[in-house]
């Protein structure tokens, strides 16, 4: 299973913001889409990621945080995924580096975003499916012997 399989069943693209937009505007976007992070883009190229954490941290020390810009608070050096990256590795990297949102790029163009929740759910479904398949075979095997 890879990132593409997650993006395939997510209708929405990544929600983007421009680096020069204000945190006030960014918060409105986060609330509107009920999400935890925005990708800052220049054209179609991701230049940073702004998470709710980044905003909370700033809010705790600066009451004027709403007027600051996305560029002020965003994390640069974004780790991005590619559609063919396998989920096992992606899950490992996201957990180890404490990344909750991974923008996905294809030839440097932003094509979507996966969250750690998406990855965990996909892995859970994958394992659940394997267990179910094995169980069915075992039970059917026993049934077969009884005949």
């Amino acid at each position: 299973m890879n990132i593409a399989n997650i993006l395939a069943r997510k209708g929405s693209m990544a929600v983007t913001v421009l680096p020069e937009q204000s945190i006030r505007e960014a918060l409105a976007l986060l609330a509107l889409h009920n999400i935890g992070a925005l990708v800052a883009v220049q054209g179609e190229h991701p230049v940073g990621i702004l998470s709710e954490r980044d905003i909370v941290r700033e809010a705790a020390r600066n009451e004027g945080f709403l007027a600051r810009t996305v560029a002020d608070l965003m994390t640069r050096n974004v780790i991005t995924g590619q559609p063919h990256d396998d989920l096992l590795t992606v899950a490992h990297t996201m957990t180890e580096r404490r990344i909750r949102h991974l923008p996905v790029v294809d030839q440097d163009r932003l094509i979507g975003m996966v969250s750690i929740g998406d990855v965990v759910k996909a892995q859970r479904d994958h394992y659940q499916g394997e267990v179910d398949t094995l169980q069915t075979q075992l039970l059917a095997g026993e049934g077969g012997l009884a005949h």
């Binding site: 992606v90 398949t133 069915t136």
Partner: protein, 456 residues
């Protein structure tokens, strides 16, 4: 509530099961398939020498036994019944049509005679009515199978099995006869990445080492992990991968034991061209050696080097991925080869808002990945959306939402449709034919044959 399910594969049955077992809402399910037989790839994809996997059909038969379930086999969506027809008879429609076409390698010579999609070979040996007349040149001595997923592994295994091994399975009779005459001696399985990234599972790779009359081998240099793979395996301590690499190392060390066929596992190679002979057939495959690089998440991907080699092969099967086929009138996501959806709700391409009453599940929803059972939680997610929408009143308003009207429609459009009771009769006939030969079943492989067996 009345629901139409398009596609009678595992996902269709899992969706039906979740729908029929809802505690509060009484749901009636009509399941359509363009083929007369149910079970989709469990019947026509799963390898004939893997009968245990096919036991899952017992669970599907239980679902079909519900008095609120009907099967309309041999009824083609878009041709025999249209979306407009379904909207007039059902509150909700779920597309579970799977990934029906293979991805192309995109290299020169791909369409030469002797080069085939692996899925065609699979459908052929499994007795798929649309593929029973395919022909594969099994007089060739060397065959390459491109890809290391479970389809590729099935194909090499079937090519390496002896007629005696195959004769106890439910492989199609004509395929058994053709494979009996096979002159194949060398079979190459080609992976573009290294052994640690190979998609095949450990039981699958072990099985390849236990074939009655085929020696397995691998090239030691290709099995030794490169530094990036070694670091990744050490970091994750993933036991399955460690075990896989160990099994492959053993294969690389094995001395040939004089069996009549040889199966060669190759890694870190990609075909770049199929070379033609004077008769316009495949004569060889040009391969490039790959090296691995890490993407920013740490996933390892192949990159071509400038080292090439030529592999003389007369038959090529490609198994480099699959994609869904668009359904008439249903929004499609070309990037991923799936129906455009959000958690199974079909989306309008213009507004990205859900289309009322239309849903999708399985491979046509998320792409071809996972085992059969992976489609169960996937179908559950879709069905959850369906009940949520029902509770909000966001369902279709069919003019004739009753079972009799739907049946009358199908009867008018496709008088020779196959019901589940009909299928159970066909099943009994196949099993009886098999019993005489000590096989699980002998399949009926053409629609005419099936209808004749039903006395039509």
């Amino acid at each position: 509530m009345r629901v139409a399910i398009i596609g009678a594969g595992p996902t269709g049955f899992y969706a039906a099961d979740h729908l029929l077992n809802h505690l509060e809402v009484v749901v009636e399910v009509d399941m359509f398939d363009r083929l007369p037989t149910p079970y989709g790839l469990v019947r026509l994809g799963v390898a004939p020498d893997h009968q245990k996997i096919k036991f899952v059909t017992n669970a599907f038969d239980k679902v079909a036994a519900s008095s609120r379930f009907r099967f309309y086999g041999g009824v083609d969506f878009g041709k025999d019944v249209t979306l407009a027809d379904l909207r007039a008879h059902y509150h909700q429609i779920v597309y579970c049509t799977g990934a029906q076409t293979d991805r192309r390698m995109g290299i020169p010579g791909e369409d030469l005679s002797g080069s085939h999609p692996a899925t065609e070979f699979v459908a052929w040996y499994n007795g798929h009515p649309d593929y029973r007349d395919c022909a594969f040149d099994l007089s060739q001595e060397s065959v390459a199978v491109v890809g290391v997923g479970n389809v590729a592994v099935d194909v090499v295994r079937i090519l390496c099995r002896t007629p005696e091994e195959l004769a106890t399975t439910d492989i199609a009779d004509y395929a058994l006869e053709a494979l009996r005459k096979s002159r194949v001696k060398e079979v190459y399985l080609l992976g573009r990445r290294g052994p640690a990234q190979a998609a095949f599972t450990n039981p699958e790779v072990k099985e390849l080492g236990e074939l009655a009359d085929a020696d397995i081998t691998a090239i030691p240099q290709e099995i030794e992990l490169d530094p990036l793979s070694r670091a990744a395996v050490e970091r994750s301590q993933d036991r399955a991968t460690l075990k896989k690499v160990e099994i492959l190392r053993q294969y690389a060390r094995r001395a040939p034991t004089g069996k009549s066929r040889r199966l060669v596992l190759r890694f870190l190679v990609s075909p770049v061209e199929l070379i033609v002979d004077d008769a316009g057939r495949v004569a060889a495959m040009r391969l490039v050696r790959n090296e691995l690089y890490a993407t920013s998440t740490g996933a390892l991907q192949p990159r071509a080097t400038d080292r090439f080699e030529e592999l003389p092969v007369g038959l090529v099967f490609r198994s480099v991925g699959y994609r869904g086929v668009p359904l008439p009138g249903v929004p499609f996501n070309e990037s991923w080869g799936v129906i455009l959806n959000d958690k199974g709700r079909v989306l309008d391409p213009a507004t990205k808002q859900p289309v009322v009453g239309e849903y999708t599940a399985g491979w046509i929803k998320r792409g071809p990945t996972g085992v059969i059972g992976t489609n169960k939680p996937d179908a559950a997610e879709t069905v959850e959306c369906m009940f949520e929408d029902l509770a909000r009143g966001a369902v279709l308003e069919p003019a004739r939402p009753d079972a009799a009207a739907a049946e009358a429609l199908v009867r008018q459009r496709q008088p020779s449709y196959v019901s589940y009771a009909d299928w159970l009769k066909l099943n009994a006939i196949e099993v009886a034919r098999g019993r005489a030969q000590g096989r699980p079943r002998v399949k009926l492989t053409s629609v005419e044959e099936m209808l004749a067996a039903l006395g039509r």
